[in-house]
Amino acid sequence: MMTDSDLEQLIAAWLDGRIGAAASEALQQELRGSAKARAIFQRFAQLDAVLRETADTENFGAISQASGSSVSIPKPIPATTRYAKALVAIAAVIIVVFTATYYFQHVKTDRNIARIKGLNGTLTWIGDGGQIVQGSASPQTETRWSNVLSEGAELPGGTIEGMAPDSWFELEFHDGSTSMISGDSILTFSDRGQKELRLKQGRFSADVMPQPAGKPMLIHTPAAVLEVIGTQFDVEAGPVSTMLYVREGKVQIGRVDDGKTVVVPAGHRVVVATGRAMLLLPVTPDRTWAQTPFWENISTSGDPDSMATQETRDDDGAHNLVLSEEPARLPAQDAGYTIRPGDVFEVRYDWLGGIWWTDQDQIAIKLFTTDNDLISGTPTTFATLLSGPSTAAGVYETASGSSTVPATEARKRLFVAIDTQDGAGELHGVAHLDNFQLEVTHFPELGSPRLDDFQLQGADFSDPPPEPTAAIIIGGSLRNGDFNRK
């Protein structure tokens, strides 16, 4: 806690515009931590404003500057008559009242353009004036900046950066338009009569209210510029490409390289990148479990009407399976296969970590049987095949694994579940999985000749070791391994 005298010196320096960085930080800390300090600051600021006004009115000198204040307090005041002093004092009081009202009701509120509607994870805000604020939706310890990055707080524009895969940040502009970033995304936003945003990287979605005529919301990415009148859409920006998916309305997107533009209507998406045709691709609606043959959500808390597959963020332009760490989602299917002794199962698939998916999270393919050969029976998992952590952010990668079936599971029905394995303690991570393939290779036991090798009209009783045989159980359109069937 600094003394009043020190505090006044710092405030005077700030009002004069001659404060250093360290002193500014010290002042801000003091203001955050002390109600008395804020009262002193307010009083000085009001007085400063009064003096400026008075100086301007009485032409005391050019003490107003382009930025900041240069009035030092206290200053020696020239001697005048009692009457004159009394008039000045009355005038000062009047000016203080009006200036303070103006300052708080106009100057301060005009600088804020949006309100934090919600947030999660670690975030950094680089605010007006260059101040850097780091915060968290659930800070472990209360800091003096906690209420800067908190739900309901007003922001005057700036840059918000998600610092972790589970970070997200939702902003509501004063006209009701909302925008949201998630994961490792960087968004700069401003609104000086026209909203202008810059998505340097990451995922961004928005629900934009109708914008003033001639002043569409502009969104700049490294590869594209979007003009938005009023719509719902998602954007994903990388260093060289930008994907836009328009849910409602329409959005014009232009390529930075050559200025070529295309208007993307609702239900379509486009990928903008150098040298790539800007093709409009229709996006089919998300599909529920009932619309996804062979697969079902076996989670006891699952909603059968919830989304099972979607086209957005797909690997091959069709549908992908949406996974979540939340327990309400556990896709599985009866593989239609009875396990034989000597079977070796191999799984292969493409997957992509999505929103809130951490570097430690993994896909977990579970092979299991049940006590009654029905998928609803009591399960016995005999193999869990993990994907390993993601090695390539933002792109699909291939994972595979294999397992030899234990003899105890022979003659039972095979079931497969696509689960997740949490690695970071949070249970909200989303991932996408596509092109699932389950293959069995049967290694016949040695012994007498098999009927399979017997030729009715060419019987031969030699007993060569039988060759292992491989067969795909799930894959492509077979049992909806590509998730495209409906």
Partner: protein
């Protein structure tokens, strides 16, 4: 000018009108109505192919002395008793007079005799192979309906076949007793073909027509018929012969030829040009193929006539809802959608032998079991046999699986040893037991010592000819172990046929004594394990 009409048996106004309609229809060319190439009615096809030749068939066959008229097949040993018999006289196949008639273009045109020389040529072909029979014809009213006197009858024509209820009953009994009906759609008329399929389907509700597989004895009994040529039609047959048969036991009771045979056998092919000019699409084998098929048809009728005699004997069935004494062995046979009753009477022969050779109390009545409906828990032994393709329902699969899981035994037999059933058995058993592999039972297996010590077996001539060297007289049984117990046994070669003491021409299986020994051992093994 209208040609003069003469009716053989005018009965009514309708029958008076019919020839007139026929004549009018015949004078209109090409045919304007109906499905393309089918004609507006069957009357469009009612054209006689040729004149009768001078050699006349014997008529009026109704009865006579009952003798064994069937000689041994070529290449098969002639039993001593056969050698002492006088030469067999007589008749192999009679041409049946049916339908109506009319005089068209001064020619008597009759439904049953549109290819008037077919029987003559058929018997010449048979004679050339050593089968000396006389051609004959009969009406259904005069016919004896005794297979011992007339092993087969020929029904040829182009128009719809119809029978009276009495005729249906008598024809049905004739076939069940061992007789065979051959239907020749002489010009490939769809009217005759479709109606004959229907009328015999209705006549034998317990069976259904099946396409004969390429390895069927009919195609190999005299010469191997792998490929044929068609005079008309046949585009979809890929050069293969096409016959449909209705099985009675393991033999064909009713054979239907969709493609015309008679004109080809008689070498009278001009009729097809006439039909095509009328806009019809006839279907017929070429002359060469028709004669080759005719050559095989005669020995098939002879060989399987004997089978018909044996299998046609009445057999008492147990009822599946009758509870047999628990101490008795019950031979329960599975009904399925294939020809499941392949060798009627065979089980009883085996059970008699088992009763004689062992101390096992045996119920001589076999029980047929419908897996979709009947409770199988009372039958620890299930026998499954067939001749051709079949498919199991999910219910049947579950029942069979449960049967063996609970300690029952399932024995599967490939009757006649045909490839079609073998493929179906392998496929369907993979559905029933997807996790288990059928393995060849080694020669040292207990099943070969459970009652008789079987160190070698004798196979049928057809199997010996093809596989004798490789088989080396070793029995071929495959089995599946469930919980380390042999619960499913499959014989890819016919065991069951050998239980009946009759020769099944071209059957690929075991001779009688070997078949009975194997059968008894299998039952004994199932009862004691």
């Amino acid at each position: 000018m209208m040609p003069p009409l003469k009716f053989s048996r005018p009965k009514s106004i309708c029958s008076l009108l019919l020839p007139a309609i026929v004549t009018v229809a015949l004078s209109v060319a090409p045919v304007a109505f109906g499905q393309e190439g089918k004609g507006a009615s069957s009357n469009d096809w009612f054209v006689k192919s040729a004149k009768d030749r001078t050699e006349k068939a014997q008529t009026g066959i109704s009865g006579g002395e009952k003798r064994d008229i069937i000689p041994s097949l070529p290449g098969m040993p002639i039993p001593q008793t056969d050698r002492k018999k006088p030469p067999s006289p007589d008749y192999l196949m009679a041409k049946v007079k049916w339908g109506g008639s009319a005089v068209i273009d001064q020619k008597l045109t009759e439904d049953w005799n549109l290819a008037p020389n077919d029987m003559l040529e058929f018997h010449k072909l048979a004679r050339s192979k050593g089968f000396k029979y006389m051609p004959t014809q009969t009406s259904l009213a005069e016919f004896s309906y005794d297979p011992a006197l007339m092993p087969a009858i020929l029904l040829g024509g182009v128009r719809e076949v119809k029978f009276t209820p009495t005729q249906i009953n008598r024809l049905r009994q004739y076939v069940l007793d061992g007789g065979m009906i051959v239907c020749d759609s002489v010009y490939g008329s769809p009217w005759f073909y479709e109606s004959s399929l229907k009328v015999f389907d209705d006549m034998f509700p317990e069976s259904r027509f099946r396409v004969l597989p390429p390895d069927h004895p009919l195609y190999h009994i005299s010469s191997d018929i792998e490929q044929v040529t068609y005079r008309s039609g046949g585009e979809g047959e890929d050069g293969k012969p096409f016959f449909e048969g209705l099985y009675i036991g393991s033999r064909i009771g009713v054979l239907v030829s969709k493609y015309g045979l008679g004109c080809g056998m008689a070498g009278e092919m001009e009729i097809f040009d006439q039909l095509e000019k009328k806009g019809l699409k006839p279907k017929a084998y070429s002359k060469e193929s028709a004669r080759q098929i005719g050559e095989n048809l005669a020995p098939y009728i002879i060989g399987y006539g004997r089978v018909g005699e044996a299998e046609g004997k009445a057999e008492l069935f147990g009822a599946s809802d009758q509870n047999a004494p628990t101490s008795e062995f019950v031979f329960a046979q599975v009904k399925h959608d294939g020809s499941w009753n392949a060798h009627p009477g065979a089980a009883r022969q085996l059970l008699s032998r088992l009763e004689k050779d062992s101390a096992i109390p045996v119920n001589l009545k076999r029980v047929s079991v419908d897996l979709n409906r009947d409770d199988t828990s009372a039958y620890p032994f299930l026998f499954f046999t067939g001749l051709d393709d079949f498919t199991l329902t999910n219910k049947q699969i579950k029942v069979l699986r449960k049967h063996v899981d609970q300690g029952g035994t399932l024995v599967i037999n490939n009757a006649l040893g045909l490839a079609t059933f073998h493929q179906a058995a392998v496929r369907e058993m993979r559905r029933v037991f997807p996790a288990d592999e059928f393995r060849l039972l080694p020669q040292s297996h207990e099943i070969y010592r459970s009652l008789n010590t079987i160190s070698s077996v004798k196979f049928t001539p057809a199997l010996m000819k093809d596989q004798g060297e490789k088989l080396q007289n070793r029995p071929v049984l495959f089995g599946v172990k469930i919980k380390d117990k042999l619960r499913v046994i499959y014989s890819p070669y016919d065991i069951e046929g050998g239980w009946n003491e009759v020769r099944y021409p071209l059957s690929r299986g075991y001779q009688s004594e070997s078949a009975k020994q194997l059968g008894c051992n299998i039952i004994m093994f199932a009862m004691t394990n």
